[in-house]
């Protein structure tokens, strides 16, 4: 079975600094997809970034980028120039067999301080 592990329950960062959230996963699939979701206090889950496993290039979306290490099964999220609005729960997720079911990690609560 696929598993996703986020080992940092909570993190904090000063505004304008950079922070990296860790995620490791385990899968037997040869091709798969990985995601980071953000859940602010409003509770609305927002897709932050998506990575296709067969693509070597790390995905980037504005201030958000990933460090995808396929051999190590690691998928970390880097947030540059942190903003107060980045304060949220962040969930790492992988897409399991059949390409329909997302498996989520336990989440990391990120607090951005002024």
């Amino acid at each position: 079975a696929q598993t996703v592990t986020q080992s940092q329950p909570e993190m904090s960062v000063q505004e304008a600094e950079t922070v990296t959230l860790s995620c490791t996963y385990d899968t037997s699939e040869s091709n798969y997809y990985l995601f980071w979701y953000k859940q602010p206090p409003s509770r609305q889950m927002i897709l932050v970034i998506r990575q296709e496993a067969y693509k070597q290039q790390n995905a980037t979306e504005n201030r958000f980028s990933v460090n995808f290490q396929k051999a190590a099964k690691s998928f970390s999220l880097k947030i540059s120039d942190s903003q107060l609005g980045d304060t949220a729960m962040y969930f790492c997720a992988s897409l399991s067999g059949g390409y329909n079911k997302l498996i989520f990690g336990a989440g990391t609560r990120l607090a951005v301080h002024p």
Partner: protein, 112 residues
């Protein structure tokens, strides 16, 4: 934008009651999902559906059932609510999983 609407933001029910959580999406997505979210456990899949009248068990289906009579609507049913079903429930839909899901804003259910 795709919208996934959950009928209640907060709900309080009594132990033993039958509870219906409703979810509606407006973009003709084939796939719909119900998750529960608990602190320290992340999101766990309860049930999902890939077509009308079709349903598949997720990782924690015990105590729950679902109904999908129309493509846009996916209902989660707690046949006899128990206190251990107090949780946040999230509905999601997707045309295909590789694009990720669109989530509703969640229903926080308290069973007393």
């Amino acid at each position: 934008d795709v919208k996934v609407t959950q009928s209640s933001r907060y709900l309080v029910k009594r132990t033993g009651e039958k509870v219906f959580l409703e979810c509606v999406q407006d973009m003709d997505h084939e796939n719909m999902f119900w998750y529960r979210q608990d602190p320290g456990l992340g999101l766990r899949l309860i049930y999902f559906s890939y077509d009308v009248k079709m349903k598949e068990k997720g990782d924690i289906p015990e105590g729950y059932s679902v109904s999908r009579e129309k493509k846009e609507r996916f209902s989660l049913i707690l046949e006899s609510a128990s206190t251990n079903q107090t949780s946040m429930y999230l509905c999601a839909s997707s045309p295909t999983g590789v694009l990720g899901y669109t989530f509703g804003s969640g229903t926080r259910l308290t069973v007393v």
